[in-house]
Symmetry: C2
Subunit: 173 residues, 2 copies
């Protein structure tokens, strides 16, 4: 039997981009926002200069790895036909950064397993893990919503919500 | 009725990369190869240092546009849900070059319509135009083989072969 195809998002799932937002916002305004202040808000609503941060050199390259993601992705990479799918095309300069970041932190993945796109409606698979409704809502397979501050508290009845990579493994292994 | 989804390859279909191969090979060896000398051969078989050329800065950025492609893609972009799909991940530095190239020559396409991947098995659509069997062979929709020197003379019974963008339009409009 062929392996099921698992599509894994990068930002907000493998890469902990909120740590970058908190850090850069603090550097700019001198005060670190609390998690409570940004819960349930869009990123650009929570961090006034979000556009400037995501286009800044190093934003993606230096993003911390999401807790538990390396070990989890390694396990899932054995069981599934795994693809990393990132809607990265809006930020052209992020593409080489993302490739370098993956090569550093997830060296067991190959370039064959990467997809950079504008819209995720173009990819096909059996399971999608993502932190954005706009990506999950149009996917015809199983959808797993990875909790991030921006999707906190929003209705998630159409998707399976997980709060950590540990929970992802409990569902998929 | 929703539009059919058309997937268009970049290298060897929208971008005339052979002109770059001929030029760089001539610069290196002092003699310009003839078309006859490279027909039916893989690119790396036809041009000894092909790997060096495709990784050279500017190879993709300065590639000429395939004859007739701008007008044709513009027309097809109205009739179809068009995506440009490039198996570019093997050459990370090509990604920004390809984005800039598209923005210059095909400014009517948006970043929403672009996909960079390692394997084209990940994308779904109704029609695929490509110059490589390895991409067309696994596609479940209609497959159009765009003639390029490397695929010349090879068996094409499973795909519709076209020799120009004019022929693409005759088939699809």
């Amino acid at each position: 039997m062929s392996k099921k195809r698992l599509l894994v998002d990068m930002d907000g799932v493998m890469a902990d981009v909120y740590q970058q937002f908190f850090k850069m916002d603090e550097e700019e305004y001198g005060v670190r926002k609390t998690l409570e202040q940004v819960l349930g808000k869009w990123e650009r609503e929570a961090f006034k200069n979000e556009r400037a941060y995501v286009t800044r050199k190093g934003f993606f390259r230096e993003a911390p790895v999401m807790e538990g993601s390396i070990e989890a992705v390694k396990l899932l990479n054995d069981k599934f036909e795994l693809f990393v799918v990132s809607a990265a095309m809006e930020f052209p300069n992020s593409l080489p950064e993302k490739l370098e970041w993956l090569a550093e932190h997830f060296p067991f993945l190959t370039w064959h397993q990467l997809v950079f796109c504008g819209l995720k409606t173009i990819v096909k698979g059996d399971i999608m893990i993502d932190d954005h409704y706009r990506n999950l809502d149009h996917f015809t397979g199983r959808t797993i919503l990875f909790t991030q501050p921006h999707n906190y508290g929003h209705d998630d009845k159409h998707h399976e919500r997980v709060h950590s990579w540990k929970e992802v493994l409990e569902k998929l292994l």
